[in-house]
Amino acid sequence: MIEVQGLTKRFGAQTVLEGIDLHIERGESVVIIGRSGCGKSVLLKHLIGLLQPDAGSIRVDGQEITRMNERQLLEVRRKFGMLFQSAALFDSMTVAENVAFAFRNRRDLTPAEIARRVAEALELVDLPGIEKKRPAELSGGMRKRVGLARAIVYRPEILLYDEPTSGLDPIVSDSIDQLIIRIRDHLRVTSVVVTHDMRSARRVGHRVALLHDHRIYAMGPTPSIFASTDPVVRRFIDGVSDPKHPDF
Protein backbone atom coordinates (compact mmCIF):
# COMPACT_ATOMS: atom_id res chain seq x y z
CA MET A 1 0.00 0.00 0.00
CA ILE A 2 2.86 2.40 0.88
CA GLU A 3 6.27 1.88 -0.69
CA VAL A 4 9.18 4.12 0.29
CA GLN A 5 12.48 3.78 -1.56
CA GLY A 6 15.76 5.59 -0.94
CA LEU A 7 14.07 8.48 0.90
CA THR A 8 16.54 11.20 1.82
CA LYS A 9 15.74 14.47 3.54
CA ARG A 10 18.03 17.28 4.59
CA PHE A 11 17.24 20.55 6.34
CA GLY A 12 20.08 22.83 5.27
CA ALA A 13 23.34 21.08 6.13
CA GLN A 14 21.65 18.64 8.51
CA THR A 15 20.74 15.22 7.15
CA VAL A 16 17.63 13.85 8.85
CA LEU A 17 16.81 10.79 6.73
CA GLU A 18 19.18 8.94 4.42
CA GLY A 19 18.16 6.16 2.05
CA ILE A 20 15.04 5.00 3.91
CA ASP A 21 13.34 1.91 2.45
CA LEU A 22 9.98 0.94 3.89
CA HIS A 23 7.13 -1.22 2.67
CA ILE A 24 3.76 -1.18 4.39
CA GLU A 25 1.07 -3.70 3.44
CA ARG A 26 -2.65 -2.96 3.36
CA GLY A 27 -4.29 -3.52 6.74
CA GLU A 28 -1.09 -3.89 8.73
CA SER A 29 0.04 -1.77 11.62
CA VAL A 30 3.63 -0.54 11.57
CA VAL A 31 5.23 1.24 14.51
CA ILE A 32 8.25 3.49 13.95
CA ILE A 33 10.39 3.95 17.03
CA GLY A 34 13.56 5.94 17.56
CA ARG A 35 15.14 8.61 19.73
CA SER A 36 13.72 12.10 19.95
CA GLY A 37 14.76 14.21 16.98
CA CYS A 38 15.83 11.21 14.87
CA GLY A 39 13.32 12.04 12.13
CA LYS A 40 10.31 9.82 12.91
CA SER A 41 7.78 12.61 12.47
CA VAL A 42 9.62 13.83 9.38
CA LEU A 43 9.26 10.35 7.86
CA LEU A 44 5.56 10.27 8.76
CA LYS A 45 4.98 13.68 7.16
CA HIS A 46 6.61 12.45 3.95
CA LEU A 47 4.13 9.56 3.72
CA ILE A 48 1.22 12.01 3.42
CA GLY A 49 3.08 14.56 1.29
CA LEU A 50 3.36 17.29 3.93
CA LEU A 51 7.11 17.33 3.24
CA GLN A 52 8.90 16.74 -0.03
CA PRO A 53 12.03 14.55 -0.02
CA ASP A 54 15.39 15.60 -1.45
CA ALA A 55 15.76 12.16 -3.05
CA GLY A 56 13.87 8.89 -3.24
CA SER A 57 10.32 7.87 -4.04
CA ILE A 58 7.10 7.30 -2.14
CA ARG A 59 4.27 5.31 -3.72
CA VAL A 60 0.78 5.18 -2.27
CA ASP A 61 -1.40 2.56 -3.95
CA GLY A 62 1.06 2.60 -6.84
CA GLN A 63 0.89 6.40 -7.27
CA GLU A 64 4.20 8.25 -7.04
CA ILE A 65 3.43 11.17 -4.72
CA THR A 66 6.80 12.94 -4.65
CA ARG A 67 6.25 14.49 -8.07
CA MET A 68 2.73 15.70 -7.33
CA ASN A 69 1.83 19.31 -6.72
CA GLU A 70 -0.27 20.37 -3.72
CA ARG A 71 -3.59 20.11 -5.61
CA GLN A 72 -2.85 16.57 -6.79
CA LEU A 73 -1.74 15.63 -3.28
CA LEU A 74 -5.09 16.76 -1.88
CA GLU A 75 -6.76 13.91 -3.75
CA VAL A 76 -4.24 11.34 -2.44
CA ARG A 77 -4.68 12.65 1.10
CA ARG A 78 -8.36 11.69 1.05
CA LYS A 79 -7.10 8.16 1.69
CA PHE A 80 -5.28 9.31 4.82
CA GLY A 81 -6.21 10.40 8.30
CA MET A 82 -3.59 11.85 10.60
CA LEU A 83 -3.42 12.37 14.34
CA PHE A 84 -0.90 15.07 15.18
CA GLN A 85 1.33 15.11 18.24
CA SER A 86 -0.41 18.26 19.50
CA ALA A 87 -3.79 17.09 18.08
CA ALA A 88 -3.77 20.32 15.97
CA LEU A 89 -7.47 21.01 16.55
CA PHE A 90 -8.82 24.18 14.95
CA ASP A 91 -9.20 26.35 18.02
CA SER A 92 -11.66 28.77 16.42
CA MET A 93 -14.20 25.94 16.02
CA THR A 94 -16.24 23.70 18.29
CA VAL A 95 -15.49 20.00 18.62
CA ALA A 96 -18.35 19.17 16.23
CA GLU A 97 -17.06 21.64 13.62
CA ASN A 98 -13.57 20.19 13.97
CA VAL A 99 -14.74 16.62 13.49
CA ALA A 100 -17.05 17.57 10.62
CA PHE A 101 -14.39 19.64 8.85
CA ALA A 102 -13.72 17.02 6.17
CA PHE A 103 -17.39 17.21 5.14
CA ARG A 104 -17.54 20.98 4.63
CA ASN A 105 -17.52 20.71 0.84
CA ARG A 106 -19.63 17.56 0.64
CA ARG A 107 -22.97 18.56 -0.83
CA ASP A 108 -24.24 14.97 -0.89
CA LEU A 109 -24.49 14.87 2.92
CA THR A 110 -27.33 16.56 4.81
CA PRO A 111 -26.55 18.42 8.07
CA ALA A 112 -28.41 15.65 9.95
CA GLU A 113 -26.27 12.98 8.32
CA ILE A 114 -23.09 14.93 9.14
CA ALA A 115 -24.23 15.35 12.77
CA ARG A 116 -24.90 11.60 12.95
CA ARG A 117 -21.44 10.75 11.57
CA VAL A 118 -19.80 13.21 13.99
CA ALA A 119 -21.67 11.71 16.95
CA GLU A 120 -20.69 8.21 15.79
CA ALA A 121 -16.99 9.17 15.54
CA LEU A 122 -17.07 10.79 18.98
CA GLU A 123 -18.77 7.68 20.36
CA LEU A 124 -15.99 5.53 18.89
CA VAL A 125 -13.36 7.57 20.78
CA ASP A 126 -15.41 7.41 24.00
CA LEU A 127 -16.31 11.09 24.02
CA PRO A 128 -20.04 11.23 23.34
CA GLY A 129 -21.93 14.51 23.79
CA ILE A 130 -19.03 16.98 23.71
CA GLU A 131 -19.91 18.42 20.29
CA LYS A 132 -20.43 21.97 21.55
CA LYS A 133 -17.22 22.26 23.57
CA ARG A 134 -14.24 24.28 22.38
CA PRO A 135 -10.75 22.69 22.10
CA ALA A 136 -9.49 25.04 24.85
CA GLU A 137 -11.93 23.42 27.29
CA LEU A 138 -10.51 19.92 26.73
CA SER A 139 -7.69 18.06 28.49
CA GLY A 140 -4.67 16.74 26.56
CA GLY A 141 -6.10 13.22 26.32
CA MET A 142 -9.49 14.50 25.19
CA ARG A 143 -7.87 16.67 22.53
CA LYS A 144 -6.04 13.66 21.13
CA ARG A 145 -9.26 11.66 21.06
CA VAL A 146 -11.07 14.48 19.25
CA GLY A 147 -8.12 14.65 16.83
CA LEU A 148 -8.56 10.94 16.26
CA ALA A 149 -12.31 11.33 15.73
CA ARG A 150 -11.58 14.04 13.14
CA ALA A 151 -9.13 11.71 11.39
CA ILE A 152 -11.47 8.70 11.24
CA VAL A 153 -14.84 10.33 10.60
CA TYR A 154 -14.48 10.09 6.80
CA ARG A 155 -13.28 6.48 6.96
CA PRO A 156 -9.74 6.80 5.58
CA GLU A 157 -7.80 3.75 4.40
CA ILE A 158 -4.57 4.76 6.14
CA LEU A 159 -4.16 6.31 9.58
CA LEU A 160 -0.97 8.04 10.64
CA TYR A 161 -0.35 8.63 14.35
CA ASP A 162 2.35 11.06 15.43
CA GLU A 163 3.23 10.35 19.09
CA PRO A 164 -0.34 9.46 20.08
CA THR A 165 0.50 8.92 23.77
CA SER A 166 3.15 11.57 24.40
CA GLY A 167 2.46 13.80 27.37
CA LEU A 168 -0.38 11.63 28.67
CA ASP A 169 -0.57 9.73 31.95
CA PRO A 170 -0.29 5.89 31.79
CA ILE A 171 -4.03 5.32 32.14
CA VAL A 172 -4.96 7.74 29.36
CA SER A 173 -2.08 6.33 27.26
CA ASP A 174 -3.53 2.86 27.74
CA SER A 175 -6.97 4.02 26.63
CA ILE A 176 -5.45 5.64 23.51
CA ASP A 177 -3.66 2.36 22.72
CA GLN A 178 -6.93 0.47 23.11
CA LEU A 179 -8.54 2.99 20.82
CA ILE A 180 -5.87 2.58 18.13
CA ILE A 181 -6.30 -1.20 18.25
CA ARG A 182 -10.08 -0.91 18.20
CA ILE A 183 -10.04 1.48 15.23
CA ARG A 184 -7.50 -0.68 13.41
CA ASP A 185 -9.67 -3.78 13.81
CA HIS A 186 -13.06 -2.05 13.51
CA LEU A 187 -12.32 0.07 10.42
CA ARG A 188 -9.66 -2.30 8.97
CA VAL A 189 -7.27 0.56 8.31
CA THR A 190 -3.55 0.52 7.62
CA SER A 191 -1.83 2.20 10.57
CA VAL A 192 1.56 3.84 10.89
CA VAL A 193 2.37 4.86 14.45
CA VAL A 194 5.35 6.97 15.45
CA THR A 195 6.14 6.66 19.13
CA HIS A 196 8.83 6.25 21.73
CA ASP A 197 6.43 4.71 24.18
CA MET A 198 7.65 1.08 24.20
CA ARG A 199 4.54 -0.32 25.85
CA SER A 200 2.41 1.31 23.18
CA ALA A 201 4.71 0.05 20.40
CA ARG A 202 4.52 -3.52 21.68
CA ARG A 203 0.73 -3.46 21.82
CA VAL A 204 -0.37 -1.68 18.64
CA GLY A 205 2.21 -2.80 16.05
CA HIS A 206 2.27 -5.86 13.83
CA ARG A 207 5.77 -4.79 12.82
CA VAL A 208 8.26 -2.37 14.37
CA ALA A 209 10.94 -0.30 12.62
CA LEU A 210 13.76 1.32 14.59
CA LEU A 211 15.03 4.57 13.09
CA HIS A 212 18.65 5.16 14.07
CA ASP A 213 21.42 7.24 12.56
CA HIS A 214 19.15 8.58 9.73
CA ARG A 215 18.27 5.03 8.58
CA ILE A 216 15.98 2.17 9.43
CA TYR A 217 18.37 0.20 11.61
CA ALA A 218 16.10 -2.75 12.34
CA MET A 219 12.67 -3.83 11.20
CA GLY A 220 10.63 -6.94 11.86
CA PRO A 221 7.62 -8.46 13.58
CA THR A 222 7.00 -6.87 16.97
CA PRO A 223 7.93 -9.94 19.10
CA SER A 224 11.24 -10.44 17.27
CA ILE A 225 12.26 -6.78 17.63
CA PHE A 226 11.42 -6.83 21.34
CA ALA A 227 13.39 -10.08 21.72
CA SER A 228 16.38 -8.72 19.75
CA THR A 229 19.83 -8.97 21.33
CA ASP A 230 21.32 -6.25 19.10
CA PRO A 231 22.89 -3.67 21.47
CA VAL A 232 21.43 -0.63 19.67
CA VAL A 233 17.92 -2.11 19.63
CA ARG A 234 18.21 -3.33 23.23
CA ARG A 235 19.49 0.01 24.43
CA PHE A 236 16.50 1.82 22.97
CA ILE A 237 13.89 -0.74 24.07
CA ASP A 238 15.29 -0.93 27.60
CA GLY A 239 15.74 2.85 27.76
CA VAL A 240 19.41 2.90 28.80
CA SER A 241 21.34 6.15 28.55
CA ASP A 242 24.76 4.64 29.40
CA PRO A 243 25.38 1.05 28.24
CA LYS A 244 28.59 0.88 30.33
CA HIS A 245 26.66 1.41 33.54
CA PRO A 246 26.87 -1.66 35.84
CA ASP A 247 23.08 -1.92 36.00
CA PHE A 248 22.84 -2.42 32.23
Partner: protein
Protein backbone atom coordinates in the same frame (compact mmCIF):
# COMPACT_ATOMS: atom_id res chain seq x y z
CA UNK B 1 28.62 43.90 2.01
CA UNK B 2 27.77 40.20 2.31
CA UNK B 3 25.10 41.08 4.86
CA UNK B 4 23.58 43.61 2.43
CA UNK B 5 23.50 40.98 -0.34
CA UNK B 6 21.77 38.49 1.95
CA UNK B 7 19.18 41.12 2.92
CA UNK B 8 18.46 42.00 -0.71
CA UNK B 9 18.30 38.37 -1.71
CA UNK B 10 15.86 37.58 1.17
CA UNK B 11 13.76 40.59 0.24
CA UNK B 12 13.60 39.63 -3.44
CA UNK B 13 12.82 35.99 -2.57
CA UNK B 14 10.04 37.21 -0.29
CA UNK B 15 8.57 39.34 -3.09
CA UNK B 16 8.75 36.37 -5.45
CA UNK B 17 7.02 34.06 -2.97
CA UNK B 18 4.34 36.65 -2.36
CA UNK B 19 3.76 36.92 -6.11
CA UNK B 20 3.39 33.12 -6.25
CA UNK B 21 0.91 33.26 -3.38
CA UNK B 22 -1.08 35.90 -5.29
CA UNK B 23 -1.02 33.67 -8.38
CA UNK B 24 -2.25 30.66 -6.34
CA UNK B 25 -4.99 32.81 -4.83
CA UNK B 26 -6.08 33.99 -8.27
CA UNK B 27 -6.10 30.41 -9.59
CA UNK B 28 -8.13 29.31 -6.56
CA UNK B 29 -10.57 32.18 -7.17
CA UNK B 30 -11.11 31.00 -10.75
CA UNK B 31 -11.62 27.47 -9.46
CA UNK B 32 -14.14 28.83 -6.92
CA UNK B 33 -12.20 27.14 -4.16
CA UNK B 34 -13.39 29.54 -1.46
CA UNK B 35 -16.62 29.10 0.45
CA UNK B 36 -18.94 32.19 0.33
CA UNK B 37 -19.65 31.79 4.06
CA UNK B 38 -15.91 32.11 4.87
CA UNK B 39 -15.78 35.31 2.79
CA UNK B 40 -18.75 36.77 4.66
CA UNK B 41 -17.20 35.97 8.04
CA UNK B 42 -14.07 37.82 6.97
CA UNK B 43 -16.04 40.79 5.57
CA UNK B 44 -17.73 41.04 8.96
CA UNK B 45 -14.39 40.89 10.78
CA UNK B 46 -12.67 43.41 8.50
CA UNK B 47 -15.59 45.71 7.78
CA UNK B 48 -17.99 45.77 10.71
CA UNK B 49 -15.37 45.40 13.41
CA UNK B 50 -13.16 48.15 11.95
CA UNK B 51 -15.95 50.74 12.17
CA UNK B 52 -14.82 52.60 15.26
CA UNK B 53 -11.18 52.84 14.15
CA UNK B 54 -12.05 54.07 10.67
CA UNK B 55 -14.77 56.51 11.81
CA UNK B 56 -12.54 58.14 14.42
CA UNK B 57 -9.60 58.37 12.00
CA UNK B 58 -11.78 59.81 9.22
CA UNK B 59 -13.54 62.33 11.45
CA UNK B 60 -10.48 63.73 13.19
CA UNK B 61 -8.45 63.85 9.98
CA UNK B 62 -11.24 65.84 8.29
CA UNK B 63 -11.49 68.15 11.29
CA UNK B 64 -7.76 68.90 11.60
CA UNK B 65 -7.43 69.28 7.85
CA UNK B 66 -10.28 71.81 7.80
CA UNK B 67 -8.82 73.76 10.73
CA UNK B 68 -5.25 73.80 9.39
CA UNK B 69 -6.32 74.73 5.85
CA UNK B 70 -8.57 77.48 7.18
CA UNK B 71 -5.74 78.97 9.27
CA UNK B 72 -3.49 79.19 6.21
CA UNK B 73 -6.17 80.24 3.67
CA UNK B 74 -7.55 82.88 6.02
CA UNK B 75 -4.30 84.82 5.62
CA UNK B 76 -4.94 85.19 1.88
CA UNK B 77 -8.73 85.60 2.21
CA UNK B 78 -9.53 82.24 0.65
CA UNK B 79 -11.62 80.88 3.55
CA UNK B 80 -14.33 79.46 1.33
CA UNK B 81 -11.87 77.18 -0.51
CA UNK B 82 -11.19 75.30 2.74
CA UNK B 83 -13.78 72.57 2.20
CA UNK B 84 -12.65 72.03 -1.38
CA UNK B 85 -9.17 71.19 -0.10
CA UNK B 86 -10.62 68.92 2.57
CA UNK B 87 -12.83 67.14 0.06
CA UNK B 88 -10.17 66.61 -2.64
CA UNK B 89 -7.55 65.48 -0.09
CA UNK B 90 -9.94 63.11 1.66
CA UNK B 91 -11.25 61.57 -1.57
CA UNK B 92 -8.01 60.99 -3.42
CA UNK B 93 -5.33 60.66 -0.74
CA UNK B 94 -6.11 60.76 2.96
CA UNK B 95 -9.27 58.64 2.89
CA UNK B 96 -7.77 55.57 1.21
CA UNK B 97 -4.27 55.92 2.71
CA UNK B 98 -5.35 56.42 6.32
CA UNK B 99 -8.02 53.72 6.08
CA UNK B 100 -5.44 51.39 4.53
CA UNK B 101 -2.96 52.12 7.31
CA UNK B 102 -5.54 51.64 10.07
CA UNK B 103 -6.77 48.40 8.54
CA UNK B 104 -3.15 47.24 8.10
CA UNK B 105 -2.65 47.79 11.82
CA UNK B 106 -5.83 46.06 12.88
CA UNK B 107 -6.61 43.46 10.24
CA UNK B 108 -3.16 42.80 8.74
CA UNK B 109 -1.75 42.12 12.20
CA UNK B 110 -4.68 39.86 13.11
CA UNK B 111 -4.33 37.85 9.89
CA UNK B 112 -0.58 37.34 10.36
CA UNK B 113 -1.01 36.38 14.03
CA UNK B 114 -3.88 33.97 13.34
CA UNK B 115 -2.23 32.21 10.40
CA UNK B 116 1.15 32.23 12.15
CA UNK B 117 -0.33 30.56 15.23
CA UNK B 118 -2.07 28.04 13.00
CA UNK B 119 1.25 27.24 11.35
CA UNK B 120 3.10 26.90 14.66
CA UNK B 121 0.43 24.63 16.15
CA UNK B 122 0.33 22.42 13.02
CA UNK B 123 -3.23 23.48 12.21
CA UNK B 124 -2.21 24.34 8.64
CA UNK B 125 -0.71 20.87 8.22
CA UNK B 126 -3.95 19.48 9.67
CA UNK B 127 -5.91 21.41 7.02
CA UNK B 128 -3.75 19.87 4.31
CA UNK B 129 -4.27 16.34 5.67
CA UNK B 130 -8.01 17.01 5.56
CA UNK B 131 -7.68 17.59 1.80
CA UNK B 132 -8.14 21.36 2.11
CA UNK B 133 -5.78 23.75 0.35
CA UNK B 134 -4.69 26.52 2.77
CA UNK B 135 -4.98 29.07 -0.06
CA UNK B 136 -8.63 28.11 -0.68
CA UNK B 137 -9.58 28.14 2.97
CA UNK B 138 -7.39 30.85 4.48
CA UNK B 139 -6.04 33.21 1.81
CA UNK B 140 -8.80 33.65 -0.77
CA UNK B 141 -11.61 34.52 1.70
CA UNK B 142 -9.40 37.12 3.38
CA UNK B 143 -8.24 38.57 0.08
CA UNK B 144 -11.78 38.81 -1.31
CA UNK B 145 -13.10 40.24 1.94
CA UNK B 146 -10.39 42.90 2.03
CA UNK B 147 -11.18 43.88 -1.58
CA UNK B 148 -14.83 44.32 -0.58
CA UNK B 149 -14.40 45.86 2.88
CA UNK B 150 -11.67 48.41 2.23
CA UNK B 151 -13.50 50.48 -0.46
CA UNK B 152 -16.58 50.54 1.77
CA UNK B 153 -14.57 51.61 4.80
CA UNK B 154 -12.75 54.22 2.71
CA UNK B 155 -16.03 55.66 1.40
CA UNK B 156 -17.22 55.85 4.97
CA UNK B 157 -14.01 57.56 6.16
CA UNK B 158 -14.24 60.08 3.30
CA UNK B 159 -17.88 60.89 4.04
CA UNK B 160 -17.32 61.26 7.76
CA UNK B 161 -14.11 63.24 7.19
CA UNK B 162 -15.79 65.74 4.89
CA UNK B 163 -18.79 65.97 7.22
CA UNK B 164 -16.57 66.60 10.23
CA UNK B 165 -14.52 69.13 8.24
CA UNK B 166 -17.76 70.92 7.28
CA UNK B 167 -18.89 71.08 10.90
CA UNK B 168 -15.54 72.51 12.02
CA UNK B 169 -15.26 74.91 9.07
CA UNK B 170 -18.83 76.20 9.05
CA UNK B 171 -19.89 75.64 12.64
CA UNK B 172 -16.71 76.51 14.50
CA UNK B 173 -14.59 78.70 12.24
CA UNK B 174 -17.42 80.64 10.64
CA UNK B 175 -16.90 79.92 6.93
CA UNK B 176 -19.90 80.85 4.77
CA UNK B 177 -21.80 77.59 4.26
CA UNK B 178 -23.15 78.29 0.77
CA UNK B 179 -19.80 79.33 -0.73
CA UNK B 180 -17.93 76.52 1.03
CA UNK B 181 -20.39 73.94 -0.31
CA UNK B 182 -20.35 75.46 -3.79
CA UNK B 183 -16.53 75.46 -3.97
CA UNK B 184 -16.31 71.96 -2.62
CA UNK B 185 -18.58 70.62 -5.38
CA UNK B 186 -16.83 72.75 -7.98
CA UNK B 187 -13.32 71.48 -7.29
CA UNK B 188 -14.04 67.86 -6.36
CA UNK B 189 -14.08 65.75 -9.52
CA UNK B 190 -15.20 62.24 -10.24
CA UNK B 191 -11.49 61.55 -10.86
CA UNK B 192 -10.75 62.16 -7.16
CA UNK B 193 -13.48 59.80 -5.95
CA UNK B 194 -12.63 57.11 -8.52
CA UNK B 195 -8.94 57.32 -7.68
CA UNK B 196 -9.72 56.92 -3.97
CA UNK B 197 -11.83 53.86 -4.60
CA UNK B 198 -9.24 52.23 -6.91
CA UNK B 199 -6.55 52.86 -4.30
CA UNK B 200 -8.74 51.33 -1.60
CA UNK B 201 -9.22 48.14 -3.62
CA UNK B 202 -5.45 47.87 -4.15
CA UNK B 203 -4.65 48.58 -0.48
CA UNK B 204 -7.14 45.90 0.56
CA UNK B 205 -5.19 43.43 -1.56
CA UNK B 206 -1.88 44.58 -0.07
CA UNK B 207 -3.08 44.28 3.56
CA UNK B 208 -4.58 40.80 3.11
CA UNK B 209 -1.82 39.40 0.92
CA UNK B 210 1.03 40.64 3.13
CA UNK B 211 -0.76 39.45 6.29
CA UNK B 212 -1.40 36.00 4.81
CA UNK B 213 2.12 35.68 3.44
CA UNK B 214 3.78 36.66 6.71
CA UNK B 215 1.50 34.35 8.70
CA UNK B 216 1.93 31.34 6.43
CA UNK B 217 5.71 31.76 6.34
CA UNK B 218 6.37 32.72 9.95
CA UNK B 219 9.16 31.06 11.90
CA UNK B 220 8.21 28.51 14.49
CA UNK B 221 7.63 29.57 18.10
CA UNK B 222 6.01 32.49 19.86
CA UNK B 223 8.81 34.81 18.75
CA UNK B 224 8.18 33.85 15.12
CA UNK B 225 4.49 34.73 15.40
CA UNK B 226 5.31 38.05 17.07
CA UNK B 227 7.85 38.91 14.41
CA UNK B 228 5.49 37.93 11.58
CA UNK B 229 2.79 40.18 13.04
CA UNK B 230 5.11 43.17 13.30
CA UNK B 231 6.54 42.57 9.83
CA UNK B 232 3.04 42.29 8.35
CA UNK B 233 2.03 45.71 9.70
CA UNK B 234 5.32 47.39 8.75
CA UNK B 235 5.49 45.85 5.26
CA UNK B 236 1.82 46.57 4.48
CA UNK B 237 2.07 50.17 5.74
CA UNK B 238 5.22 50.90 3.77
CA UNK B 239 3.78 49.24 0.66
CA UNK B 240 0.67 51.41 0.95
CA UNK B 241 2.66 54.63 1.36
CA UNK B 242 5.09 53.86 -1.47
CA UNK B 243 2.44 52.59 -3.89
CA UNK B 244 0.27 55.63 -3.11
CA UNK B 245 2.82 57.92 -4.76
CA UNK B 246 3.03 55.82 -7.91
CA UNK B 247 -0.73 55.31 -8.03
CA UNK B 248 -1.36 59.06 -7.81
CA UNK B 249 1.23 59.65 -10.50
CA UNK B 250 -0.18 56.97 -12.80
CA UNK B 251 -3.91 57.19 -12.12
CA UNK B 252 -4.34 60.96 -12.43
CA UNK B 253 -3.43 61.22 -16.14
CA UNK B 254 -5.12 57.90 -16.84
CA UNK B 255 -8.45 58.82 -15.27
CA UNK B 256 -8.33 62.37 -16.64
CA UNK B 257 -7.59 60.92 -20.08
CA UNK B 258 -10.65 58.72 -19.77
CA UNK B 259 -12.67 61.91 -19.42
CA UNK B 260 -13.93 61.32 -15.88
Amino acid sequence: MGLHCAWWSDWLCGLGRMALLARDAFASLLRRGAHPRDVLVQVHFMGVKSQSVVLITGAFTGMVLAAQTFFQFHKVKMDTATLAVVSVSMCSELGPVLTGLMVAGRVGAAIAAELGTMRVTEQIDALRTLATHPVDYLVVPRLLAAHIALPLLTAEAITVGIGAGYLVGVGLLGIDAAYAWHNMLRYTDLVDVTMGMIKAVIYGGIVALVGCYKGLNCRLGAEGVGRATTEAVVAASISILVSNFFLTLGLTPLLTGLGL
